[in-house]
């Protein structure tokens, strides 16, 4: 047989698709089931272990960390168009990313961040769940870091101004720290400026 046909009942064993189906849809014996259960349970535990992945970016003179679960993608900067009748200071406008049109936020204004002399390498960081996406222009993206949650410094006392209120803690990055942002709070504040 050169080609698998769809004739009724012609389930040739050579048909790789059928073989695959048989493999995937076979009944599990108790041992396999127990093993699978254990594996699924185990993986779950791994997720629970306290490690944090964060995207480190710079806005103005401040290094910030977004929880990677919250901030997924980084894009080239796009044109932001101002929104008529909407005057929230942090609303930069709307931008198009991957064929989607999302609001863009100026975190420097929301968090009172000061400008920095370091020349920017601007990028757009896309944050938020699918129905609450925001594009946040940043001056530099350093990359992802994985840090045990226990290493997150609790006191954000050294963090200045209103950034303080939106920070969960400080992420140690060698000789400096990045402020780990409170994703939910930031998102609520951003969304609040849309109406």
């Amino acid at each position: 047989m050169t080609e698998p046909t769809n004739e009724a009942g012609s389930g040739s064993p050579a048909d790789p698709r059928r073989a695959m189906r048989r493999l995937l849809e076979r009944d599990l014996d108790d041992v396999a089931l127990a093993e699978n259960t254990r594996l699924v349970g185990h993986r779950h535990e791994t997720v629970q272990t306290d490690e944090l992945t964060a995207l480190i970016v710079r806005i103005g003179g401040e290094w910030l960390g977004f929880d990677a679960l919250f901030a997924g993608r980084v894009h080239d900067p796009g044109v932001a168009r101002r929104v008529p009748h909407r005057h929230a200071e942090h609303l930069a406008g709307i931008v198009a990313v991957d064929g989607e049109i999302v609001p863009a936020a100026r975190l420097d204004r929301l968090l009172d961040l000061t400008a920095d002399a370091v020349p920017p390498d601007p990028r757009l960081v896309i944050v938020g769940p699918v129905d609450r996406r925001w594009a946040i222009p940043v001056d530099e993206v350093e990359g992802m870091v994985r840090i045990p949650r226990t290493d997150v410094v609790d006191s954000p006392a050294t963090v200045a101004g209103s950034l303080n209120r939106h920070t969960i803690g400080l992420l140690p990055l060698g000789d400096r720290h990045a402020a780990l942002l409170d994703s939910d709070r930031i998102l609520d504040l951003l969304d609040g400026g849309l109406r």
Binding site: G9, P84, H87, A96, D98, P103, R195
Partner: protein
């Protein structure tokens, strides 16, 4: 049950049965209304029944085999001339079709309960189909088990995919046709044979894809949406090749100058450098070839991506006749039940309509058509004595007009009696006698669209379905359309639904305001003009220019949009002329950028409603822009001009108000009610501004400070509940007292109003009772 290439056998049966049931129904109805050459017409029906039988046999659905077989036998008898197709017989055959269709619409797991439930009905039907034709009593039709696909919720997980396979017409999914042939290929439902495969599928052919599958597939609408977005992205990305090409060409130029340099050096030195020269030559040739190849690729990519884009967009468009397959059947059954004779006709069936609109149209049209048969069309006796043809004419017509889709439902029935309607309005306590007498034409007909309003003297089984014309209106409003009624007593009634052809693509003029591009749908623009400053005159602080037959007042678009805009008056103003029945205006923009087809995107819900903005879109370079809602802009202009807030293109500041006036905003779409409210409030010494719907009201709120808001509930664009909710959500308006005045007097409506944040909920009868005045006094703290 065994499976085939990922499809269960039942799925295949389902696909097949659905298609054949549709052919059966169309064919039966046609045969009944026009027997013509019944030998030819019966052929496809026979094959359809035969195919269903074959498909059912394969999966061992004996009930369906028996039924389809009995139906086939009848068709054979008719074709052989042994029997003539009577109306009673057609009823039976339609009932059989319904049963088969019902079976095809359930989940595989529900077959057994379904069979048990319907067994006796099927057996009875098979029995009577088996009886000779003359035994068939020409009775009223047996109640069909269900019209259209039966919604079955046996699936324990309400996953979207599962739902999609059960009820293909649910809003989550939509029928879309990815047609291998051009979308223009006519496919008429008037020739039922066209939907039946040429060869009756032999039982073993069922295992392959049914023939229909290659013509029409169902695609999840969300997936189609994503495909469209990606197709757009492909197009934008392909244009980036242009940049690469430019770079390569630049490289070639550099090589060219290098070559010149080498040539010069060669001459100067007199030293032959043949190898170097050859190398450079070769390099340039290679680059030229590359550029050529790149050009070819570029052209091809652009063509393909534009085509892909067009195809994906086109897949949203369906011929009008694709919607409402159930209409002929519904009308036939209804007319038979009511003892009326109706000739139903669909005109403009090929008119292409966005499937979103088509889906949205189904329910309102069903209602309007039922309404026409039930209330509009008279029984044959009455028609005869009125000198009309016994059979009434009911026409459903679709066509494009002025960039809109116009759908008309026209009957030649008794029409709407204005006196009866006035009486009814007064009876219901909606307005008093004096006001009712002043109501005329459209104002009067507007009452038909109020919830629970019916002029039918008795609630028949047909009309008493809890769906009123108010639902029709709100459904049409939802997709951005409008509905009107025209009626002449004794002559007939026409319902006219005006809808956008698509909500997907709009041809727009691009303008720049304050450095930002904006799109204005061309269909809504009168003219685009460049007006020299010397032609602009100023009257009472308002700038205007003369054009054709009159003066056109100028308003800066930037002012309306609350953008800064250019404050200079340039040598030549760029003006977009827009207008409606009440006037034309010149919107001043900074400059024109051109014209473009834009794919309309929904604005992120989180923005709520932004005044003057209809939606968003993306330009060719992938940057976003807003599409202006011209209708809304016009409303704002009326508002602003009426209040004198827009003197001098919006830049002149209003003088400070020294006297304290209590200002009331009345938001109401009925002119009559609006006028009554305005009069009452003015008599109370209040300053009254009016707005015609929620959006209008919302815009008015932005520019005036009000002490009280009075609003209706049922209004186009933004209804009263949305309006009050929006108002309450805004810090600035939180504390303004709001009175809702509505015809809706059920407790649930009152609760909805209060829940939204209204301070009082009154019915329109309250004008007479004086409770309106009392409530306003209370809320404003005025002594009686």
């Amino acid at each position: 049950m065994s499976d085939l290439g990922g499809f269960s056998m039942f799925d295949l049966f389902r696909e097949e049965a659905e298609t054949h049931c549709a052919s059966l129904e169309v064919g039966l109805l046609q045969l009944e209304s026009d027997p013509g050459d019944s030998n030819v017409a019966i052929e496809p029906l026979m094959r359809a029944a035969h195919s269903v039988k074959g498909a059912a046999r394969i999966i061992g659905l004996d009930v369906a085999v028996g039924l389809a077989h009995a139906m086939e036998d009848v068709f054979v008898a008719v074709q052989g001339g042994d029997e003539a197709l009577s109306a009673g017989r057609v009823d039976q055959l339609l009932a059989g079709t319904d049963l088969l269709r019902g079976l095809a619409s359930i989940e595989e797991s529900a077959i057994e309960p379904w069979s048990a439930e319907n067994e006796s009905a099927i057996n009875a039907l098979v029995d009577s189909l088996g009886k000779p034709a003359d035994a068939v009593v020409d009775a009223a039709p047996t109640q069909p088990p269900a019209s259209g696909p039966v919604e079955v919720t046996t699936s324990p997980e309400p996953s979207e995919v599962a739902k999609a396979s059960i009820s293909p017409d649910s809003p989550e999914t939509a029928k879309a046709s990815i047609s291998p042939d051009s979308p223009e290929t006519p496919r008429s439902s008037e020739t039922p044979a066209a939907t039946v495969p040429d060869e009756p599928p032999a039982p073993n052919a069922v295992s392959g894809s049914p023939v229909e599958e290659s013509r029409t597939v169902r695609v999840d609408s969300g997936r189609l949406e994503r495909m469209m977005r990606l197709a757009g992205e492909v197009m934008v990305t392909s244009r980036r090749f242009l940049g690469v090409r430019e770079q390569v060409v630049g490289l070639d130029r550099r090589l060219e100058s290098m070559e010149d340099g080498v040539g010069a050096a060669f001459r100067d030195a007199g030293d032959p450098l043949p190898k170097l020269r050859r190398d450079v030559d070769e390099g340039r040739r290679a680059v030229s070839e590359l550029v050529e190849e790149l050009d070819g690729l570029l052209r091809r990519t652009e063509e393909i991506s534009a085509d892909l884009y067009g195809q994906v967009l086109g897949s949203r468009m369906r011929p009008f006749e694709d919607g409402g397959h159930g209409f002929p059947r519904m009308i036939r059954d209804l007319a038979r039940t009511l003892g009326k004779k109706v000739r139903f006709e669909v005109r403009g069936g090929r008119t292409r309509v966005d499937r979103e609109i088509l889906t949205a149209l189904e329910a309102p049209l069903t209602h309007v058509l039922r309404n026409a048969v039930d209330h509009g069309i008279e029984v044959p006796d009455v028609r005869r004595s009125a000198g009309k043809d016994e059979s009434a004419s009911l026409v459903l017509e679709a066509r494009h007009q002025g960039g809109m889709l116009l759908v008309k439902v026209r009957d030649d029935g008794g029409g709407i009696d204005p006196e009866a309607l006035r009486r009814r309005i007064v009876e219901r306590g909606m307005v008093d006698q004096a006001m009712a007498e002043r109501l005329d034409g459209p104002e009067l007909h507007d009452f038909l669209f109020l919830p629970g309003f019916s002029t039918a003297s008795s609630v028949t089984e047909v009309s008493g379905r809890g769906v009123g014309l108010d639902v029709v209106q709100s459904m049409v409003h939802e997709v951005g359309g409008a509905v009107r009624v025209e009626s002449t007593p004794g002559v007939g009634t026409t319902f006219e639904l005006q809808l956008p052809v698509t909500r997907s693509v709009v041809r727009a003029a691009l303008v720049e305001v304050d450095g930002e591009p904006f799109a204005m749908p061309l269909a809504r623009l009168d003219r685009v003009l460049r007006v020299p400053a010397s032609e602009v005159t100023t009257v009472e602080g308002r700038r205007q220019f003369s054009h054709e037959d009159g003066m056109i007042g100028m308003i800066r678009l930037s002012t309306l949009l609350e953008l800064t805009g250019s404050e200079d008056d340039p040598e030549v103003e760029s003006v977009v002329v827009v207008g409606d029945a009440s006037g034309r205006y010149g919107l001043v923009v900074d400059r024109f950028l051109g014209e473009q087809d834009l794919v309309v995107r929904r604005l992120d819900d989180r923005f709520g409603r932004i005044p003057h903005v209809a939606s968003v879109a993306m330009l060719d370079d992938g940057s976003p822009l807003f599409i202006i809602d011209v209708e809304d802009v016009l409303k704002s202009i009326h508002q602003l001009l009426g209040d004198g807030r827009l003197r001098g293109t919006g830049r002149a500041k209003t003088t400070s108000e020294s006297e304290k006036v209590t200002r009331v905003l009345v938001v109401e779409d009925s002119m009559t009610v609006r006028e009554v409210e305005r009069q009452i409030l003015t008599q109370m010494g209040l300053h009254v501004d009016v707005a015609v719907d929620g959006v209008d009201g919302w815009n008015a709120l932005q520019s005036g400070s009000y002490d009280l808001v009075v609003t209706d509930v049922d209004m186009p664009r933004m209804n009263g509940i949305e309006f009050v909710t929006t108002l309450r959500a805004d810090e600035r308006f939180k504390r303004i007292p709001v009175v809702v005045v509505s015809y809706k007097d059920r407790e649930a409506d009152r609760l909805a109003g209060m829940h939204a944040g209204a301070d009082a909920y009154l019915t329109k009868g309250s004008f007479r009772e004086g409770s309106f005045v009392e409530t306003v006094r209370d809320l404003l703290g005025i002594d009686a």
